[in-house]
Amino acid sequence: MNQVAMPNKLLDVQNLKQYFHPGQENEVRAVDNVSFHIYEGETFGLVGESGCGKSTTGRSIIRLYHPTDGEIYFNGEDISKLKGKKNMQQFRRDIQMIYQDPYASLNPRMKVQDIIAEGIDIHGLAESDADRNQQVNDLLELVGLDKSHATRYPHEFSGGQRQRIGIARALAVQPRFIICDEPISALDVSIQAQVVNLLQELQRKKNLTYLFIAHDLSMVKYISDRIGVMHFGKLVEVGTSEEVYRFGLHPYTESLLSAIPLPDPDYERNRRRVTYQAPKEDGKERSLKEIASGHYIYCSDDEVPFYQKKLEQKKRQ
């Protein structure tokens, strides 16, 4: 129980900025001054609309892009300035990623066993061919696939099966932290549950930490311990999933929450969607401020009491 009392920050992102074409006319601020942290063993959900920078954040953390500015501490070490092949290889083993499109994330010209064993080969994790095959078979079993699937090509599998192959590939290097980049949004609803349950089961078995990127708030609430809401490259609200889901304070979060459909005709008939209107540029400095314990809102200093009052009101209802 000590762990719960003093959770270890596995990932700590501070003032991460990812600009494309910086300083040019077509500068895009995909991720702008984002700070958050993820405790060991938890699932952090990142939600937001399409193009708000969720995936870019994930890709910057895993160093598919070079962050423009900011620090990313993984296990206490700044990985945004990691240099040298050896350090990089260790980092590549610790952090892995599961991709969005199961049809694009597997090389169509490679057999399943070679796809899964790619990381094993790169990092030399197998002592012999027999060991390699054994590891691949174990991984296949772990994600609920059959041994006989190892010699087949990706196009022979369904979307859910492919996604499980992708998960097996990520697990092959025994990572501690996995970035799930919308792993279920391309799947059929009945398959989504399969994959999410598999991810949760793996988290328990292997003590994994997840950054779960998605745009489906109810799915994120189901899987995450804490949620961050992103809008236009900025984090606008961070809190425990219960807190954000029930007492979402930022107008953008409220708008997202109002869009969740429920299979309840009475509720649906009366549901009013809140449209988000971005606040006018008033020149105030805004940043993430802690409103209540562990609940952060993107606001200016003088807006803090307003949000605190709003939270109290919502909790009383």
């Binding site: 598919l64 990089m88 892995q96 991709y99 597997l106 090389n107 990092h123 090509y153 099966q161």
Partner: protein, 344 residues
């Protein structure tokens, strides 16, 4: 209500059995045989009649042309002044034009008898102005043309793929510079290059091949670059990167196999154009020097006497056309076989 409750109680616990595990596994089983990319493409290619026929014709042409190194009806370079300009004579065929007769002054004359050719000697496609057997020269010419085209295509392939791959995978400034270089190169007409080449080198196979590859690889490089740009943003390439794969390995393991179809098709299209370019050079007199022959030089010699001795031009012209049509049909079929959805 009561009745359903009663019904439930009727079943005792031991009449239930757990679902057999194997049943779940059998649902995941894939029955269809596992086909590799090439097996699958071959299966599709076989359905395309034109492509298969072309493939067999090309194989036959290649076997005969290369086999004639050892088994040739006559010596292709041996001149015989007594037997000049003989029409085709095929044993057992009495069709005019193939029986050794020719129309001279409105009268059909047996040219073989006039030249005192022994009864058992036949020139199936006749002889040229120096008394050389045309069939032997045609086989020799086809062989030379094929060799030039295939070597040129292979060199195009290796230079073009390497250049395009580096340009596409590196991207950014490197790509920009490499593309500008390509544009400058593609602005040079290759006929000019050819003529300049001949001022330095002896006209022959080497200089022809060199002239062809100076600009020939550009199309290949462009296609490979475009494909590499497309593939390198695919998620499986990103996955390889996050696993720590090096760029060169990514290029070889992930990008190259996925664009191999496009490369093969492009190469199959570049072979006939290389054959044609070689023939064109031979025709305008920049090709091989006699006694060596290619389809182009044969056409060049044949067209001069087309009015009187049409067979000298017909034979190489038909051979050239057949080879070009076959390569094009085969390339078309391969493209459909490699990429049935026409994505590229």
């Amino acid at each position: 209500m009561e009745q359903t409750q009663l019904n439930v109680k009727q079943f005792s616990a031991d009449s239930f059995e757990p679902l057999i595990h194997a049943e779940r596994e059998s649902r995941e089983k894939i029955v269809a045989p596992s086909l590799t990319f090439l097996q699958d493409s071959w299966r599709r290619l076989k359905k395309n009649k034109g492509a298969v026929i072309s493939l067999f014709i090309l194989i036959a042409v290649a076997v005969i042309a290369f086999g004639s190194i050892w088994v040739s009806p006559h010596d292709p370079t041996k001149q015989n002044v007594k037997y000049i300009n003989l029409p085709p004579k095929i044993p057992g065929v009495s069709l005019d034009g193939f029986n050794g007769t020719a129309l001279i002054g409105g009268q059909r004359v047996d040219k073989y008898a006039q030249a005192n050719v022994p009864e058992q000697v036949h020139f199936y496609l006749g002889t040229d102005g120096l008394g050389r057997d045309l069939l032997s020269r045609l086989l020799m010419g086809t062989r030379v043309s094929l060799i030039i085209a295939i070597i040129a295509a292979l060199l195009d392939l290796s230079i073009g793929v390497t250049y395009g791959m580096i340009s596409g995978m590196k991207g950014g400034k490197v790509d920009n510079v490499m593309q500008r270089v390509l544009e400058v190169l593609s602005g040079i007409p290759n006929l000019v290059v050819m003529i300049l080449m001949l001022t330095i080198f002896e006209p022959g196979m080497t200089s022809i091949i060199l002239a062809m590859i100076v600009t020939g690889w550009i199309t290949m490089a462009r296609i490979v670059r475009a494909q590499a740009l497309k593939i390198k943003d695919q998620e499986y390439v990103m996955a390889a990167r996050t696993l720590g794969e090096s760029s060169s390995k990514i290029a070889l393991k992930h990008v190259l196999p996925n664009i191999s179809g496009v490369i093969i098709v492009q190469m199959m299209f570049s072979i006939p154009s290389a054959i044609f370019f070689e023939a064109f050079l031979g025709f305008i007199g920049l090709g091989l020097r006699p006694p060596a022959a290619s389809l182009g030089t044969l056409l060049n010699e044949g067209y001069k006497t087309f009015r009187f001795l049409p067979h000298l031009m017909w034979a190489p012209a038909i051979t050239l056309s057949v080879i070009m049509v076959c390569f094009n049909l085969l390339a078309d079929g391969l493209r459909d076989a490699f990429d049935p959805k026409m994505k590229d």
